[in-house]
Symmetry: C2
Subunit: 424 residues, 2 copies
């Protein structure tokens, strides 16, 4: 249990019991309790996105992702706290209060999916829905020692998700293990005719996707990590040699430069397009940092957006040759683990640094899995992520499972794992 | 011959002869003279984009498209007039003067590739390079009774092309026949590592691409054409029944709505991003209509751009089911053929109407071929276009050839046609 402000809403016992009674006992997730990040609709309850002003209006229908988990037998227990409007990677930007890492009350939980990560890491639920635009699923997974799977954009519908950057938002799972994520992802993967960004898994894997991930790349340069992170990263590099058949260094400068675009301008206009209407009038229902950041998006010119898209296209092209030679890329999920006090002292700078290794994935149309990678000397969790081209989701999960010492082939043929194998 | 202002630059006889002497006589386009729209670089000569202020600076290198034609043995003879900065579909927006249709001095040539179309339709060259963002290749093809092939975006490099809307610009061929376009397209189709938007033809055709185009759709509604256009369109519909195995009506409202996005806001910001730097100071080197239009792009907010992209994604999704049931779509290329006086009286309105059926193709990632479809009762040419999903270029060319009564299989195995068959 935990006394953290991780819930924006907990369902009553009777409602949970009723939903559980309704689930097909033969369904792949029958009875599995799950938490829902509160930027994802659950029918009959408000979606606040951590903005209490939105608490008055219940959602008319559940998000497609929630509906699919319900159909797979899973049982929702509540909505979870987040950095407001999913704008942040720290977990402190919420009028509902700041979460902290399950490993340390002084250190951030990561965000924006703070409550979902804490719920899973505290053992309250085995599964939580999150979202990940710039790292919002992976960063809190790393800060709490759990697994965050950010699928290829479009594989999981975002219908019923309050957008942050609509073109980039990905529904993400948080679980304690890769094996626990598999049946959830199988249930969630569905081409939604109502989501214009939905993309089916292609019948044949694209050329850049390896059937088995043998060659794993790591950055060929020093990464400017916090010292305890650096120690843990060095250990992770050693460990990788026991997991991957081949470990090769690659230049990741273009990846990281692409990631910086997300915070340095054009895409702020997308956030303003998504939630700008909620920023006036100001009041205690608005997180001051989030409001300041998103308002900057109002003043970005359309021509800057197109210039940014141009720059992104060039960087994306620069990164593509990497995938001809390697199957996946391993990076630390974060460069460090800041304290809540450090975030308070420099809310924007600390947040931006925290996303250094996660912001590029959706801009470059990659899938990614964040996994635990032991503990730092100070006992805080350390996490790495594996990143691969779009639609490499299934082999990437197997690589993550191998890293975690879990079964690489999906476990015994449940309906869920079969579906995933077919989808992959 | 013609006394129209179709050239911005004609190469001297000695330069042309020298280039011709340099060409490999065995090359697929050996000795074929071609004209180059003056927004495409030819090494050693300025690229004015019909802005005389740009005439001082020669291009350091030829555009990739020009280089590929040169390598295939073709011989450039000059640069052609256009609606300034490729912003217009009329052919009148140029300080170098207004072109007119080869069929009527009172009627527009169409644009923006006005000079290239007139050069081919007048018989001065058998081939011209054009560009087509909103219809700039297809509209002047229709206004002059020739063939305009707008390939799938990315198949032909835009390196060395002055952008109009960089994400949408397509190099296009203008020729008298489909057969004349084939070897040029074969030479032009090349994945350019220096063009971030370049895309190779996929090794296997996407699911939506038919190997042979049997089912051709036509709009299920009246199209509000000019009366002489309507008569010619009715005749074209009759003729189509002799060309396509199946003709079916479809709802094209979402296609046309997507097309309107191009002129109604967000994408003007892309034009401003591309050429806004050339608009100050004002002077006689700037076309007043073009300047006014592009300056509107300066005031478009980034959030509007993202909202427009959102709307486009939804419309694109709405149009996709069409391709499950039909192989190609036939539409008139234009809704009418305005006079130069009509354009002068309403420069923006007449221009926008002229693009009603062409603006959607690049936004929706389609390929298109504009072909002649007889004459109207008043002797002006009438044209139709065939439109199909991305990468359907080869079967679409065959459909266009069948329409024109030309060989459907590529003609005798020249190097060029072999290349196209491999690419397709």
């Amino acid at each position: 249990m935990t006394d953290q402000p991780l819930w924006t809403l907990q369902l009553g016992h009777s409602e949970v019991d009723e939903l559980a009674a309704r689930a097909d006992p033969e369904a792949p997730l029958a009875g599995v309790r799950f938490a829902i990040k509160d930027n994802i609709d659950l029918a009959g309850h408000p979606t606040t996105a951590a903005c209490p002003a939105l608490a008055a209006k219940p959602a008319g229908a559940s998000a497609t992702a929630v509906r699919l988990l319900l159909e797979a037998g899973a049982v929702p227990v509540g909505k979870t706290n987040l950095d407001q409007f999913a704008t942040g990677l720290v977990g402190t930007r919420s009028p509902y209060g700041a979460c902290h890492s399950v490993a340390s009350p002084a250190h951030v939980s990561g965000g924006s999916s703070s409550g979902s990560a804490v719920a899973v890491a505290s053992g309250l639920v085995p599964l939580a829905l999150a979202t990940d635009t710039a790292g919002s699923g992976r960063v809190p997974a790393a800060c709490n020692g759990i697994v965050g799977v950010k699928p290829t954009r479009g594989l999981v519908s975002t219908t019923g998700v309050l957008p942050a950057v609509a073109d980039l938002d990905c529904v993400t799972t948080l679980t304690a293990t890769v094996s626990a994520a598999r049946p959830a992802l199988a249930a969630l993967t569905w081409a939604d005719p109502n989501d214009p960004r939905s993309r089916p898994m292609p019948p044949r894997a694209p050329a850049a996707v390896a059937a088995r991930m043998r060659v794993v790349a790591v950055p060929d340069m020093a990464l400017e990590l916090d010292p305890p992170h650096q120690e843990a990263w060095t250990a992770a590099l050693d460990r990788l040699r026991g997991v991957a058949a081949h470990v090769v260094p690659v230049d990741v400068a273009a990846f990281l430069e692409a990631g910086r675009l997300l915070y340095e301008g054009p895409w702020l206009a997308a956030r303003y397009a998504a939630v700008g209407g909620h920023l006036e009038p100001d009041g205690p229902h608005l997180d001051p940092t989030v409001r300041r950041i998103v308002l900057r998006g109002r003043d970005i010119a359309g021509a800057e957006v197109f210039a940014g898209l141009e720059r992104l296209a060039t960087l994306r092209r620069q990164t593509e040759p990497v995938w001809a030679d390697v199957d996946a890329l391993m990076l630390p999920t974060t460069p460090g683990h800041p304290t809540i006090a450090e975030v308070a002292a420099d809310p924007v700078g600390v947040n931006a640094r925290l996303g250094r290794f996660t912001t590029f994935a959706n801009l470059l149309d990659l899938c990614a899995v964040a996994v635990p990678a032991g503990e730092r000397a100070d006992g805080l969790p350390f996490g790495v992520q594996f990143v691969a081209p779009a639609f490499a989701d299934a082999p990437l999960l197997d690589l993550a499972a191998a890293w975690c010492g879990e079964p690489v082939a999906p476990p015994a043929a449940t309906a869920g794992s079969t579906l995933l194998a077919v989808a992959g």
